[in-house]
Symmetry: C2
Subunit: 384 residues, 2 copies
């Protein structure tokens, strides 16, 4: 077992009607900037619940943070916040709103000349305006970590940063707020949750049987509840299980001493940038083929995954592992998520450019730096 | 799934050589009171490692905190601390030293006339001197929670309290510090870890399949590594797995929305007070019989435990569950832990008194308040 530090001070408030607990979670005084996205929180009543809980507080709103939140939008929010001087940021929505809010929080306190450096140069974020969240879409795990991914449309860049300073002070998770998610959002969230576990559980042997067990439990619960959620979107237990699993998939616990590999996420980000795939869709296309491409290096791990999560009984490790990948793809397809690029109308016109951006020159992907230009092109071809 | 709040800000620093990280974890200035127990940390080199890491700091020591830490001892520490005015308490040792240190931290800031009220009257602890720990014995889970159990010899009382204010700011867990534990300490720690899971996992149906999965993973890893640790006391992976499992058994995660029942612990505390059994020994005697006594109410949960943790295949839930309890007892006995009161030289001379203290009059134990005087006596008889 490799050495590790685990420190996750996020206060998670989970359950029915918990938005009403907002007043006790927020700092006692000061202006609150409420950030949100499109209009779904108005349609499903979450906006009204939050405003009711905030009655009497000094609020400024910044709506319009889009999926794959854009740098340009967020810099507008930064300008608003510089004028309005909120003491606290409250994200109300899914992982995109929250990721965007984390960036706003960091950019407001950023000492350098250009907050874009946080993303492109990886300049460390050591301080941020405090923030909290009301989560309405289980998927990203952002509610209990310090990660955020931000997009820049004009350069087709999708870049992340991570800092303890932007961990939410609290996250409110009411599964009832997810009843009205569209099937596509629900399905994408399930793919994303599983991909987060894969990135940790299937990278290198964790040498940590307890964390393997937790990872497998997250996967099994996600699959089991994913099987029924589209038919029973208002089943509280199903929604609650999916929401709790999505949080534990990426709150740092499974990955305490795991090697993380975000190659599939990175390739997926490019598919989002070039072809407009949803984040979950891009993972459903790429991830199975990254695993198949690396089937020899990941032989033992894939076999373990297949047997413990899917109950595959094939005695050959190689065959069992590939069967596990096939079962994964079948499951995602059963949720209505297409798993081939061609099904999204995307051809091979950007393969070379994507492969160059991620694996050209000295650039490499993968836990061993073994995915270069040729390998990424091959994975993209496998994904057609 | 019931509503819950999960908030665990303890910074866990896990792995080889991590005691050297102490300077970066402690507050920058102020006196540090180092609390410790008997002499094992001197014998195994932990004392020297800690003192080396603390070089240049203003230290006052308070040694002599015994297993089942005593109120009288701790109040002496409080008197020392009142004179020496430490800014931070550093517990170096096992769960008893840490529990005692938590009580010292709370008593120092206690506003009432008598800190004993924290234990006997359950007066809330809202503030405490900050503390951290170097853990040398995996068992209690105290390193990542706000719980402490304190004994008062003259009244044979063993009482607990719980407060976020006494959660360690950090806990250093170096599995190498556990290489020199006596087999009895190691075995007791394994029993204690499993009992902590049972108190949450086998109380009422958690309606939380993910947490069930985590609980089962903790149990499986504890059993698997428990099987080899006595033969290979210096196997790092085995020691690390046991240490990490013991922490997760009682850091609040498994129990987020579980009913907790500490009846076995409470009866066990009495056996410690009256007959001098180690805490782990007392649980090994009592817990199987509490489960057997409640076999009908716990039928489904016991069967699940037996099948998922022990691989019991009996198709009848009742038989399977009892087989799981038997396997548990066999496992503990294989570690050298005796599981019958008579094996510790204890007869039935205190049964009535113990049953009265816990279940006499209006007093009740158990998640449904269903263990009164007669039931506790019966469980004690089953444990002879």
């Amino acid at each position: 077992m490799r050495n590790f530090v685990f420190h996750n001070p996020v206060k998670l408030v989970f359950g029915k009607g918990t938005i009403a607990q907002l007043p006790g979670l927020l700092p006692a005084g000061g202006r609150i900037m409420m950030t949100w996205g499109g209009g779904s929180i108005k349609a499903n009543g979450v906006y009204d619940q939050v405003r009711a809980a905030l009655q009497g507080r000094d609020i400024v709103e910044f709506p319009g943070i889009e999926p794959n939140p854009r740098y340009a939008t967020l810099m507008k929010a930064v300008a608003v916040a510089r004028a309005e001087k909120p003491a606290f940021l409250l994200s109300v929505g899914g992982g995109s709103v929250l990721d965007g809010t984390k960036f706003i929080a960091a950019a407001l306190m950023f000492a350098g000349p250009d907050p874009w450096d946080i993303l492109e140069k990886g300049t460390a974020v050591t301080t941020a305006v405090p923030l909290g969240c009301v989560l309405t879409l289980p998927a990203t795990g952002s509610e209990m970590n310090g990660n955020a991914v931000i997009s820049r449309a004009e350069t087709r860049q999708k870049l992340g940063f991570s800092s303890e300073a932007v961990m939410p002070r609290f996250s409110i998770l009411d599964p009832e707020t997810t009843y009205t998610l569209r099937p596509r959002q629900t399905a994408n969230g399930i793919v994303d949750t599983m991909a987060h576990v894969f990135e940790q559980y299937l990278t290198r042997d964790m040498h940590n049987p307890l964390n393997e067990g937790i990872a497998e439990a997250v996967l099994r619960v996600t699959i089991e509840n994913g099987r029924s959620v589209l038919a029973r979107p208002r089943d509280y237990e199903v929604r609650a299980n999916l929401m709790w699993s999505a949080t534990l998939a990426l709150n740092g616990l499974i990955g305490v001493n795991a090697s993380h590999d975000w190659a599939s996420h990175n390739i997926g980000h490019e598919l989002t940038a070039f072809h407009g795939l949803d984040h979950g869709q891009s993972l459903a296309v790429v991830f199975p083929n990254v695993l198949r491409f690396k089937r020899d290096a990941k032989r033992t791990m894939l076999a373990r995954y297949a047997r413990r999560v899917w109950g595959v009984t094939d005695p050959d490790d190689g065959d069992a592992g590939l069967a596990g990948v096939d079962r994964t793809v079948e499951f995602w397809r059963s949720l209505g998520v297409k798993t081939r690029l061609s099904e999204y109308g995307a051809g091979d016109e950007h393969f070379a450019e994507i492969a160059d951006r991620l694996g050209g020159g000295d650039r490499r992907q993968g836990e061993n730096g073994d995915l270069g230009f040729a390998e990424i092109q091959e994975i993209l071809r496998m994904s057609r």
